[in-house]
Each structure stands twice: as C-alpha cells, then as structure tokens.
C-alpha cells in the first residue's frame, strides 16, 4: 500500500524547529521539497545557516515524521546548498510569532529594523553574534529592549547599506 503523498507532506511540514517549538520548518522556509515515489520518500531541506547545531535533530525529526505515515518505506533527507535560505522565506504568520513571542525581528530591504515591542526604528546593532548563528543582537533605544535580528547570508549582509 503506497503512502499518501499529501499525508507525507503534511507530516514533514509539521515538524517544529527545536528552538522555536511553536514554529514549523515549513513556516520558517526550511522545507524545500517532499517527493514520494512508491514507498520511498525524499525530503530536501534548506538550512538557515550551515553549522546550525539543530540540523541533525531536525533531520531525525523529519525522518521520524515521514516514517510514521502508513506505507512509507525508505526515507532520505538531504540538506541543500542551493537555493540558499534567507529570512524572506519565513511565512508572515511566523514573522508575527517571532516578533510577538520571541522579540525577534527581520531586517527590512532598506536595512532598518522595526522594534517588535514598541514599533520604533531606533534599533541599532550591538553585535553580529547572537546566542545562535542565525541571529544578531540589536537594541531599541526607544523602549530599552534588546532585539534579536535574523541574520542574512554572508553575501546578503555584505550587500547591506
């Protein structure tokens, strides 16, 4: 009995990021493709950054999710070099959760950051290195809150104004 591709897709898409337990890898733009051929499943992921310590866990969770779907045989999970992940792959609903629940912002095309707490643009970078490889540390002078900002790829950051 072959697995239902939609069920496989749904199961894999619902895997949550280990560090944002209420956000799925799909919402975060990490799920590139799910292919089902007979009983075999192939999942392609785009990591936010290489060297992310959660990747192994995400791979295992994706594999477990796919294997739990009736009829699934072999599961292969690959991490893609291309296309590269970028913050604009994050779904709008997830952006709202990142802002409201986690005080995490995404830099606008003009390089500005809007404070998720008070809405001010007086947000200046304090360190390129946040607690995770995918985030930097900024600070809102208007409301005195630290804000973390999702990092672009290296090429993207070099291109910033």
């Amino acid at each position: 009995m072959a697995p239902d591709p939609a069920a496989v897709r749904a199961a894999v898409a619902a895997v949550c990021d280990p560090e944002y337990p209420d956000l799925t890898i799909e919402e975060l733009g990490m799920l590139e493709a799910v292919a089902v051929a007979g009983a075999d499943v192939e999942v392609a992921l785009t990591p936010t950054v290489f060297g992310c310590p959660a990747l192994a866990m995400i791979e295992r969770d994706v594999r477990a999710a796919a294997e739990a779907v009736p009829g699934v045989g072999r599961v292969r999970v690959t991490l893609l070099d291309e296309p590269r992940w970028s913050p604009d792959r994050i779904a709008p609903a997830a952006r709202a959760v990142l802002a409201a629940q986690y005080t995490i912002s995404i830099r606008g095309a003009d390089g500005s950051v809007i404070c998720p707490v008070c809405g001010s643009r007086e947000v200046a970078e304090r360190s390129a290195y946040g607690p995770t490889r995918c985030r930097s540390i900024a600070y809102c002078a208007a409301c005195s809150n630290p804000v973390e900002v999702i990092r672009l790829t290296e090429a993207g950051e070099r291109a910033q104004p």
Binding site: G51, T103, Y129, P131, R133, Y139, S144, P146
Partner: protein, 310 residues
C-alpha cells in the same frame, strides 16, 4: 512612564500581572532585587560559556564538537543580552558588573564552581544541570514582572529546551553504550547530582523577596522536589544509582523522598570557595584582560569611521 503612589499600589499592580518597564518609576527595593537576580543570571551565563569552551577541543567527534561550539555561543550571547538589561536598571554599569565578577565580589550559579573531569561530566551537565536551569527559568518566566527580562527569558527557555533534548540524546548514548561508557556516566552522576539539586538554591525563606516582586513563582524547595520526582526514576530506569544513600521510593505516597542534604558545598560556592571557583574566576578575568586589544581596536575603528563621516 508609570508611577505608583505607594508600595501597596505597586504590589497590587504586580498581583494583577502588571509588567514593569525600564522607564517606569519602580520602588527602589524592586529595582535592586531585580537587578541582583539578572546580574546573577548574566554572570552565570558568562561563566557557563567559559566552562563549555573548555570542551570544544576535547569533544568526542565532530557532531558533539559542533554542539559544544554552539552552546558556548549561546551562553555568551545570553550573557550579552542579560548584561544589557541589567545595566539599564542603572545600579551598576556593565564594566562594574564584570569587574565585580572577576574580583570574586559577585555571584554565579554553584554548578560553575566545579571542575569537569570527563566527557561524562559534560553529559551530566547537559542532562541534569540544563534541566534544573530550565525548570528554574520556566518558574521565573511564568510570572516575571520585569518586561525586558521576561522577553529574553522566552528565548532562553526555548534554547534551554533544545539543550535538554541534546542532553537526553547524549545520555542515551552512554546509558545504552559500553560498560565503560555506563561507568563513566555513573561517576559523573556521583559528582553532579547534588550540585544540580542545589542549583535551585538553599531551603526557601518564607519571605523570599523574589516571590513578593513576582520574579520567582515557586519556592526553591518546590522546584527541587519536582525535579527529584522526575529525574530519580528516570535515571534509575536507565540503570544508574543516584548518589543519595537516603533516597527512597515511598510506595504509599508514590513519591521519592530525598535523604539529608549537605548544604555546605552550596554555601562554599557563594563565598567563591567551591572546588574550582578560584581557577574559573581567574580564567574569566584573564579572558577579559587578554582581549582588551580587541576592544581597543574596535573602539579605534569606530572612532575613525565616525571621524570620517563627520
């Protein structure tokens, strides 16, 4: 900017779940209590990061090395955030907080006053200590009345949860591994069970100000007990022995009862007199002094850019 006309009014505000922000005119007692708590947390993240750093070159395999690298960055990043929030309370500047830490004048959590003697210790820390820290942080987050701290805690808790999952995986590898691996973890458990339990702090004072100011939500003892109820059976099921000769399971109450606790080691860490306190503080101080040239270079570069822009 909010003001309150009396302490009683402020306390009702907290009672109703009110969140205090940096610009508010908060009572001095509240400001000091919150500052000391955040300073302790910031110091602990910095000292913890320096402890993790030791194992980057020694981790068994690339996957574990990556975990330790990431965990080190995680703790230093948290320290950075917490020192920023602490400094905004205008009790001490960041420079003053660091000076106090490196001179042994301010505190950091007991668990960072111990040496890590084997990889098993790293696993014990990732499994036991991070779990204790997570429980303590969740208890603070539940009620936390100070806005900027509460917002950071949300992320810290999410990250700590991830560390715990990694800790569980690391523990399973040893528990289901060779006899040597099993024995290594048992030796580590013998060393780390009590420090992990004592992370929750000494026996509760009935008038803990941190409960009054809606920073803590539960007493130290309640958190400690909950932890024992969860981890004593879990570790026992994995085939390990908890190093508490008085620990027993009461079949009637269906509870695990601890033996008598020796609090002397905890109080020793408060006076920087733990087994590895002096060396750890020395390492932290030297790390700061040795990187003065980096800060000087960054400041000079910033000044030059500002001059060029002028």
């Amino acid at each position: 900017m909010r003001t309150w006309s009396s302490l009683a009014e402020f306390e009702s505000f907290l009672e109703e779940g009110g969140i205090v922000e940096p610009g508010d005119q908060m009572p001095e007692e509240y400001r000091l209590a919150v500052f000391r708590f955040i300073e302790l947390h910031a110091n602990s993240e910095l000292m913890g990061g320096l402890c993790e750093r030791d194992w980057i070159p020694r981790a068994p395999g690339l996957a574990r090395k990556l975990s330790i690298l990431a965990k080190t960055q995680d703790e230093i990043g948290h320290a950075h955030l917490l020192y920023m929030v602490a400094a905004d309370l205008r009790v001490k500047t960041r420079e003053e907080m660091l000076a106090d830490l490196f001179a042994g004048r301010s505190k950091f959590h007991n668990v960072f006053h111990y040496p890590t003697l084997s990889w098993g210790d790293q696993v014990a820390i990732a499994f036991l200590v991070d779990a204790a820290a997570l429980a303590a942080q969740q208890a603070v987050f539940k009620n936390c009345s100070y806005g900027p701290y509460r917002r950071i805690l949300r992320r810290v808790i999410a990250e700590e949860g991830f560390h715990m999952r990694q800790g569980e995986e690391m523990l399973l590898a040893l528990a289901e591994g060779t006899a040597d691996q099993h024995a290594m973890f048992q030796a580590s458990l013998d060393r780390w069970w009590w420090p992990a339990l004592q992370l929750f702090g000494p026996p509760a004072r009935p008038d803990d100000p941190l409960l009054r100011w809606k920073i803590k939500s539960e007493t130290n003892d309640v958190l400690r007990d909950r932890y024992v109820q969860k981890y004593a059976p879990l570790l026992t099921d994995y085939g390990f022995t908890i190093p508490d000769p008085g620990l027993r399971y009461d079949a009637e109450t269906r509870r695990w009862e601890m033996g008598e606790v020796d609090w002397a080691p905890l109080f020793a860490t408060f006076r920087q007199g733990g087994p590895d306190s002096e060396r750890r503080i020395g390492t932290a101080r030297r790390a700061f002094e040795d990187t003065a040239w980096v800060r000087a270079a960054l400041d000079a570069a910033a000044a030059r850019l500002a001059g060029a822009a002028a």
